[in-house]
Symmetry: C2
Amino acid sequence: MQKKHQQDARAKGRIKLSCAKCRLRANDAFREFERDELDFIETFKVGELAIDAGATILMDGQDSPHLYTVLSGWAVRFKLFEGGQRQVLNFSMPGDLIGLQSAMFDKMHHTVESLTDMQLCVFNRDRVWELYRLHPGLGFDMTWLAAREESIMAEYLANVGQRPALERIAYLILHLLERGRRAGLAKGNTLMTPITQEHVADAIGLSIVHTNKTLQRLRATGLMTWKRGEITIHDAERMAGIAGFQASGAGRRPFI
Amino acid sequence: MQKKHQQDARAKGRIKLSCAKCRLRANDAFREFERDELDFIETFKVGELAIDAGATILMDGQDSPHLYTVLSGWAVRFKLFEGGQRQVLNFSMPGDLIGLQSAMFDKMHHTVESLTDMQLCVFNRDRVWELYRLHPGLGFDMTWLAAREESIMAEYLANVGQRPALERIAYLILHLLERGRRAGLAKGNTLMTPITQEHVADAIGLSIVHTNKTLQRLRATGLMTWKRGEITIHDAERMAGIAGFQASGAGRRPFI
DNA sequence: CGTTACCTTGAATCTCCTCAATACACGTGG
DNA sequence: CCACGTGTATTGAGGAGATTCAAGGTAACG
């Protein structure tokens, strides 16, 4: 009974848990915070938000008062065109920041939608300035995160702009496995993911049909399998060979 | 004689001019700095660097001790593939920051090359942390610049991933005119630029041949002309129509 | 006046797209 | 337990768009 009540409260985003016990801190892919940074984040944090799969978290053009960090679950960031076409920019995983653009430019330049049920940590945009003033280290982290996103966007652009279908898909999948691994979403060489072939198609700029056929070609090599939300790379090295992929050896990263 | 000597010194990057008189400050597309910020930048700045067209400013994989702001001239940022293919990520214009990645990740994830003779303002990477600590406003600016680059990369990705050739080129050109205008490189609807069709091809992910043919189609509409480094848009509205372009109404921007 | 860099052209080929079905998996209600 | 609906994955065929190869043309510069 007690527990049930708590569940409800979380669904409405009322619970505020201690940052010191944040589940993300258990993952050593992230950097440690200083004591005073942790204290500040504690006050910076407005609460937690639990949302269902398929919800729109932030919408293109919208000015949001909030900034989020993903605690659990997957989201997809994309741009929509008049013709109904969609460019998937990236997928958001635990530790990723959502809504930086609205904090910087007063409006989003793309839409963010949940792919699974998610838990988000909610911050108040108004206090971002305070963060820079009082905790330069966290301000630096924000820049780091933004620069990293830029770097990923550039890689995706190069991938879509220059590589043929097979390489393109191989690259995306390796990249997702790599990121998923750091976020604790992979078991060995298997990535647990909610993404569909349509998401892949929209991410690499190919039609669904062609994506499907290319994916079959890729599976036919025996280097990977993909079923029921589980993507497994059997030979990462040879896979990286056709993808022209090199894991970016970034060390421990901040997550705010 | 006196003057000639000064020229030589600048070519070797020895001159250090006052930031208060920085030519960029004359452009009101950029935000004003506070007095103390200006003083800090003055000390942060190592010197000025004058380089020739065609020089490599930063190389992919390289760890640079410096960070630059473009004072004048054009550069191109790109990724190179084994096969010799090249993805142009963006063009750098006055006010743009170069080398943020090496400051954040200890290595560049792309190459930067000058397209014209350039003047760069040189900063020391070691002191970036000091910048965050002493001048949170400038730290915020860094994040702003990084987020803006991310936003541009995302737009380019969507452009390359989803649009057909004609729209793709139209979009790129409008985007360049818009940016060039803010950087003071345009006269009315004419952009003065050193970029070639090959650059355009590498930026939008099409072959030179097809880029050429598509460009001719675009010029045939009468909406634009391009000769001798001058691109003129005659009907920006209709051009924006085929490009699906909407100018991002960002206000005054920082430039560090 | 020759060199170089850039732009233009035509033809053959192939990648990728659209259209239009069909198949499969999973959950729901009868 | 089966029938049905929905979302996702798969197939085949024909056509548009982009690529490559291979020449040629033009403007700028020394």
